[in-house]
Symmetry: C2
Subunit: 244 residues, 2 copies
């Protein structure tokens, strides 16, 4: 069944109208009167609807029932990734959205070779949020993950540390497994997974992360690329949390 994300204030009562990009998308799908669609408020509620009228630029819907989206994970996981080159963060936004992430947070760290300036960052955030929305639609999420940029590594640590399970992955860590950190934090409802840029974190940054309260963990004995590590960790977390 086709799914459309509609912002919360457009939802109300027993009728709804799809406009703009949603209407364009509905046109591509050749929706006609009587077709069933799902409208999501992007915050975890799904509305089962029927098309009642199709006209240029707008599709009218009759709302039948509202229900909590079934595809949202019980654990709310924020993926923290240091600024990386080119399209790596975009790749992670798309994949982490499919995998059930709640937020995508990017931040600068010492070895980042790519740091968008303030002006280009605003544009990028807009683009990134669209990638999340599109991946959420495609993977039938009930909500669109927020994409957030933080101004400093310290700000990222302080924010990440607020989760019940907060982990910083470090390729030189050999002792603490992710499993041990997960078991120690269980039961938990919020998680932060923090990974570094292409060159990894500096040892001092790892010490700062530990001081901020994050567990320093290994992702195994193979060196993962900076865009592979967050997705590996998120997949494992969703598995450990009983999602599949």
């Amino acid at each position: 069944m086709p799914r459309f994300f509609v912002s919360g204030d457009e939802i109300g009562g027993s009728f709804m109208v799809l406009t703009g990009e949603n209407a364009a998308h509905a046109k591509v799908l050749r929706l006609k009167n009587g077709d069933e669609v799902t409208v999501c408020d992007g915050k975890g509620t799904d509305y089962r609807c029927t098309v009642s009228d199709v006209s240029a630029g707008q599709i009218s819907l009759v709302v039948h029932a509202a229900a909590p989206a079934r595809s949202e994970a019980a654990v709310r996981c924020s993926v923290y990734m240091a600024f990386a080159k080119a399209d790596k963060f975009e790749h992670v936004i798309q994949k982490a959205t499919e995998l059930g992430a709640d937020e995508l947070v990017c931040f600068p760290s010492a070895r980042c070779v790519s740091r968008p300036d303030e002006k280009s960052l605003a544009k990028k955030l807009e683009r990134w949020q669209k990638i999340a929305a599109s991946a959420a639609e495609q993977s039938r999420r009930g909500m669109i993950p927020q994409v957030i940029a933080l101004p400093s590594y310290r700000a990222a640590l302080a924010r990440a540390a607020q989760a019940e399970l907060a982990v910083c992955f470090y390729e030189n860590e050999e002792r603490l497994t992710f499993r041990a950190a997960i078991e120690k934090a269980s039961p938990f409802h919020t998680a932060s997974l923090l990974t570094g840029p292409e060159g990894g974190f500096e040892p001092e940054e790892v010490a700062q992360a530990a001081q901020a309260g994050l567990s320093i963990c290994t992702l195994g004995s193979r060196i993962l690329r900076c865009e592979t590590a967050p997705l590996c960790a998120l997949s494992a977390l969703m598995y450990a949390a009983g999602e599949f």
Copy 2:
């Protein structure tokens, strides 16, 4: 420490010579006499060596010690992925190699929109094997995963079913979790993870997989792209097997 893969028959005794691409790579790294390097036979053994001579097109090494590669997973996992469009399989080869896969196996299935013919397949296999080698080097693997193409879906099922844990992932399966399949098969040393093309498997194909002995499992309630599913499953498997 730089790592080089050398085919088994070039290894023997207490001296070794790097030639061809390895020598070119060594030149890029500006290796000089006395530098330490690791030479891998691509089959799980690492050799600690020192550069003893650098000349045009060849680097001579003194071999100090051989040891089992520390970065190989205890579970040998084969990733079976139906032919997909464009560079999706290449993406999976690179990432699955980082994540510790033992083999990458591609095969046709009913909804595959992309099926290389025999001639282009031979060329592609060569290219794919190079991607695996390069990812193995970068992630410091002790072996290079084999990339294999099978002629039919039935051949893929018959081969996949030989593993102690053999799973076919299906987006319409809601009952059996991957965790349940893993727990039922434990302890296991070999695993096959089978995933479909862009449009997924046909219901009859899923029935055939079950008949062949594969467990039909869900990867959760979100719809994963065909290139995301195998990497999600492999990450979870490595986690479940105690790799991190």
